[in-house]
């Protein structure tokens, strides 16, 4: 099968894994799912590099593999080991949040349908998915109460914007890409440190309990 035929499937696989990240009950599972998702993201970069004949995307793929498949999940898993599993349900039940997710996907498809610049249909799908993915990450940050889940939501958002960037600005200088990646990694580092401090201070990572912060 040509690489172009694979792109829509891989893009949707990205959405499936993000559903799994959000809905996974155990944090370790969620972190592993995030690693799988980043692997899919790296392969999408590879496929796009072949389809759009864009050399910079090979490097994007490799760096994404190193940072997002290995480094970020490692950081997250270490934090989980440090604070232990704590099961906190999200605001919405699974059917409701998956329905919202599907609506967001439909919305993004509708938006991309208006953009005429992309001739290749498969790339259009990938762009729609990237926007949907960004929104899904945002949704996870809003509806999940567990601080680590919120960090994962941030990572999902970041993956979405990364894909958008790869589709629209892959010819930008490498420094841009490096900037994004270090930004993502350092953000996760800082946030996991914050999560550890919060855990120490409150004994829980349920953000609904952080009422003491109210001024």
């Amino acid at each position: 099968m040509p690489a172009s035929g694979m792109i829509p499937s891989m893009a949707l696989l990205l959405l499936v894994t993000s559903l799994l990240v959000v809905e996974a009950r155990r944090l370790r599972t969620a972190a592993y799912m995030y690693a799988i998702q980043s692997l899919v993201l790296a392969s999408i970069f590879l496929a796009l590099a072949i389809v759009m004949d864009a050399e910079p995307l090979y490097i994007w793929s490799l760096t994404a593999l190193l940072t997002k498949v290995i480094l970020v999940p490692y950081l997250l898993l270490r934090t989980v080991r440090f604070i232990g599993e704590e099961e906190i349900e999200g605001t919405f039940s699974t059917p409701v949040s998956t329905t919202i997710a599907a609506l967001l996907v439909a919305l993004s498809f509708g938006v991309v349908g208006v953009v005429q610049e992309y001739a290749i249909l498969q790339v259009k799908v990938a762009l729609a998915v990237s926007i949907a993915h960004f929104l899904l990450g945002l949704l996870a940050i809003l509806t999940q109460k567990h601080a680590l889940k919120q960090i994962l939501g941030f990572c999902l958002m970041e993956n979405g914007s990364h894909l958008t960037l790869a589709l629209t600005a892959y010819n930008a200088p490498e420094t841009v890409e490096m900037g994004i990646l270090t930004d993502a990694v350092f953000a996760v580092v800082i946030m996991t440190i914050l999560a550890r401090r919060l855990h120490k201070g409150f004994g829980t990572l349920n953000s609904d309990r952080y009422t003491l912060l109210k001024g």
Binding site: M1, G5, M6, P8, S9, A11, L12, L15, V16, L19, L20, E23, R25, S93, T94, P95, V96, S97, T98, T99, A101, A102, V105, A106, F109, G110, G113, L121, V125
Partner: protein, 313 residues
């Protein structure tokens, strides 16, 4: 396919599934035992169980009425009818002139309805729990099954099962379509739930979903019910295979290809039972109220499939 040969082929399918059903329930028992480091019974144990029960006297609670007595026959008859309609051996459905996939889904409803009614009829509290859970599980699973099958039917242009199978065999409908593989994934999980396996059901426990309504049964009725539920399990798998993995089925209903199709089908089902056994034995029992988490995810998968279908084809 013309009516006459279709009926005979359908009967062959039904008989085939009826005869191998205890084999696979036996296989599941063995695999389970091996994973628990037990030796387990022989693979033919379920045949022996059924034969033994068949020759026993039946004991009926005084509260029970004819609903209780008729249920085993209706359940076995209904599952056999499904076995006749689903394309198992040939690409075409043997009984395309009888019904489509909507009929098949509603035939499964008969099984549920009768099992629950019989459970309530027995007057036993345990049977009542099982009946209630059986219906609640149906509420959770049936919408997803209909949604997934509807999307696949829309992709292939007909709700007739043979048409869908033929399109998948031809390659008109293939896994590089995101709608199709998402639907397949969703339906695979739904099939797993419908098979009554461990995270959702504990088939050996008396007060559980499937065994619950069976609490008061004994003798030939129990044998028929166990057999019927075995056939139901196999038919659910057959439906999954017919829609999403029909490769190896015979294109023409000639004896040679049909025998080959039987062998291929047995191999596919064995593979599925192996996967299911691994999954089943690596998980602990779910609380019934946790099932919506899984069905919610399945629903999400099918919604993604639907969105892709609606916007891209």
């Amino acid at each position: 396919m013309n009516g006459g040969s279709g009926i005979w082929l359908g009967l062959l399918q039904a008989l085939f599934i009826l005869l191998v059903a205890p084999l696979f329930t036996g296989l599941a028992r063995i695999l389970r035992a091996r994973m628990h480091s037990r030796r387990g019974p022989g693979i033919l144990q379920d045949y022996r169980d059924i034969w033994k029960l068949m020759r026993r006297q039946e004991v009926v609670p005084s509260e029970a009425s004819w609903v209780f007595r008729v249920a085993p026959y209706v359940i076995l008859g209904t599952t056999l009818l499904i076995a006749m309609i689903v394309p198992v051996l040939t690409v075409r459905s043997p009984l395309a002139m009888v019904g489509d996939l909507i009929l098949v889904v509603y035939l499964f409803t008969i099984v549920r309805f009768v099992l629950a009614a019989a459970g309530l009829d027995s007057g036993s509290g345990f049977a009542g729990v099982g009946a209630s859970r059986e219906m609640a599980l149906g509420v959770l699973v049936e919408p997803v099954i209909i949604l997934v099958l509807f999307i696949v039917a829309l992709l292939s242009g007909s709700t007739e099962l043979g048409t869908i199978t033929a399109k998948v065999v031809n390659g008109d409908l293939a896994y590089h379509s995101p709608s199709f593989w998402l639907a397949a994934l969703a339906f695979a999980i739904a099939t797993f739930i419908e098979m009554g396996k461990l995270p959702f059901d504990l088939p050996e426990a008396e007060q559980e979903i499937q065994e619950g309504p069976l609490t008061e049964y004994s003798g030939p009725s129990l044998a028929l019910l166990k057999w019927g539920l075995g056939v139901k399990q196999l038919v659910v798998v057959a439906l999954f295979l017919a829609v999403f993995f029909p490769f190896g089925t015979a294109v023409t209903p000639a004896p040679g290809p049909v025998v080959l199709a039987m062998v291929a089908w047995l191999a596919k089902v064995t593979a599925i039972y192996l996967i299911v056994a691994v999954l089943e034995n690596s998980m602990a029992r779910f609380h019934l109220y946790r099932v919506p988490i899984v069905t919610g995810l399945v629903f999400g998968l099918s919604l993604l499939s639907l969105v892709y279908y609606a916007l891209n084809s």
